[in-house]
Amino acid sequence: MRYMVAAAASQDRLIAQMRRGTLEFCVLALLREEERYGFDLVKALGEEDGMVTSEGTIYPLLTRLRRDGLVTSTWRESPSGPPRRYYQLTHKGRRALDDFVAEWRRFRRAVDRFVGGGER
């Protein structure tokens, strides 16, 4: 019984870690076609169930991506309220995203082969 509880807890942690690790690339991917501002990004991520648990946790990530030069930001007037910070993908960000996507496909294929998913 105790083993099952511990296993469930460690599985939860693993899922949370995977989500957390891939979240930044989901953000980069959302910026591939168009620039977006924070609220808009959060809403887009929220459309996929379970991707964002607390909306506010996106902002530390955006700050880090900006510091790392993967995204850049520009202030733009908003139709309502104060100016908004719009995020754009940089060259470096695009490259990081492409690298991740290639790696992700390989990884997903490999795992699917063993756990038996992916065949449609």
């Binding site: 609220f39 607390s54 909306e55 506010g56 902002y59 700050t63 309220g81 908004r84 910070r85």
Partner: protein, 205 residues
């Protein structure tokens, strides 16, 4: 209604600022400003007849300040403040260490204080200089009362005659000084202890 919303936002932002105290100011202000805007927009999207409960739910969906702060520390590679047993020991040894092991106990307290990564340099200076020796100082003064010798010399018929009087430092001044000397190390220890608690309370491992 607008007031309730504004208060709720201000409240939340204040809690967030507090939780993120150990995040460098430039990054903290960037994150806080973005979250404030996010909150404003979230609340602006509520229907005009939204209740206070709706407002609270909307704010809750943004996340607990502590959770956002720990995410910020994680993403930005900021190590949470490490509390060691020596930090707690410093708070205890600074006032009473000198009484347990005369003087040396206080010295160990000072060493622990300066080893710590919890307090700022200013706080460490306060801890060191208020009061050197901690409670040892007032106790030592009580054991060996300060006496002042006042001497006067008068010339009597070409012969110098000295008269000396010894006066114990009595009265109200003694009382004030001893109370200050007893209270100061205790107040400083409480202050350092509270800093230790608040800086580490919001750190989730």
């Amino acid at each position: 209604m607008i007031d309730i919303r504004q208060n709720a936002v201000d409240d939340y932002i204040e809690r967030l600022e507090r939780s993120m105290r150990d995040v460098p100011a430039s990054r903290r202000s960037e994150i806080v400003a973005e979250i404030r805007q996010h909150l404003d927009e979230t609340l602006a999207n509520l229907p005009p007849d939204a209740t206070e409960a709706d407002v609270r739910n909307a704010i809750e969906s943004v996340g607990e300040p502590d959770e956002i702060a720990s995410e910020a520390r994680d993403r930005l590679g900021i190590r949470p403040v490490q509390v060691r047993w020596t930090d707690t020991a410093a708070v205890i040894l600074l006032p009473i260490g000198g009484l347990i092991v005369p003087f040396l106990g206080w010295v160990v307290g000072v060493i622990f204080l300066w080893m710590s990564s919890v307090w700022t340099t200013k706080e460490k200076l306060i801890g060191t200089f208020i009061v050197p020796g901690g409670l040892l100082l007032p106790f030592a003064l009580a054991a060996f009362p300060v006496t002042i010798q006042t001497c006067s010399e008068s010339n009597v018929n070409g012969v110098g005659v000295g008269t000396c009087s010894e006066a114990s430092y009595a009265g109200i001044l003694t009382l004030v000084v001893s109370i200050a000397l007893i209270l100061a190390p205790i107040v400083v220890a409480v202050y350092l202890g509270r800093r230790l608690r608040t800086r580490t309370a919001n750190v989730t491992p």
